[in-house]
Amino acid sequence: MGLESQLDNPFLTTTIDTVVNWGRKYSMWPLPFGTACCAVEFMGVVGPKYDISRFGAELVRFSPRQADLLLVMGTVTQKMAPILKQIYDQMPQPKWVVSMGACASSGGFYDNYSVVQGIDEIIPVDIYVAGCPPTPENVIGAVYKLQQKISQEKVAAWR
């Protein structure tokens, strides 16, 4: 970047979007909405071997008020659907949603009376992760993809 040449200069010229998005994309606080085996795979993602904190999304929050990345991991039943909606509504903006695994994305093989056929029937989804369950690399790939998406956002669009 040649940033070193600017070290003597007290000012940098850039855009608000670039700075804010740079801050946002490396400090996502995930809320794990784990309802099935995908959540167990997520434990591997936050563990020391794969370590999602290398990508800035390490601070797992268990209150939606403190999170901005909703990770939906697992089967969502019709009975659970209003709860997922309420948790999404409780998250402050800006917020993003990752649908992890076949069940959350499409209902998976639970094509039956009790399972929501994809959480995008209830809440907007930014990134879908394929797999049953997805590998930890796949989840990290989703975080990486989401970072790319965030860096293209307009800050004003969230107001």
């Binding site: 019709q78 209003p82 009790s114």
Partner: protein
Amino acid sequence: MDQSQITDRLKARFGERILSTYAMCGQEAVTILPADLVEVLTFLRDEPELRFNMLMDVGGVDYLGFGGDGEDEDEVRSHRFEIAYQMFSYDLRHRYRVKVAVKDDSVEVPSLWEIWRGANWMEREVFDMFGIRFTGHPNLRRILNHDDFVGHPLRKDYPITKRQKLSRPIDHLLTDKQEWA
């Protein structure tokens, strides 16, 4: 006690009221009518040589469109629903199964809550999935499907692609008085 001996005991005691017996690989069962259910299962629980002190599971079967038990392919089964009760004796380490043929269109079966308290939630599940009404049950509400659900999804005539959404907010889950009975 060997399961065939249990079958013999039941036959000797109840005679004609045992509609049929079943044996496969050491697993035996008898089929009875709902009217005899409480009497037969109380006998199984209280008889000193049987002492089935635990009800392991209650399950339902919908035989809609199935043939009969016999060889004749055109034969139609005389009943649509069957309830299967799995029992276990902690003291004597033996198991047994009793089936109830629900011939009546009212699909009513007496509840076993008075015999085994554990029957409460199992019977609620069978009610939820098959619509069997357990008379005498203290709290016969749905247990798995949501409150707005209409119909009974494990019945064979439930449309396989039918979806029912629960659109209510979750507040009623927190505020409604829950009877745990």
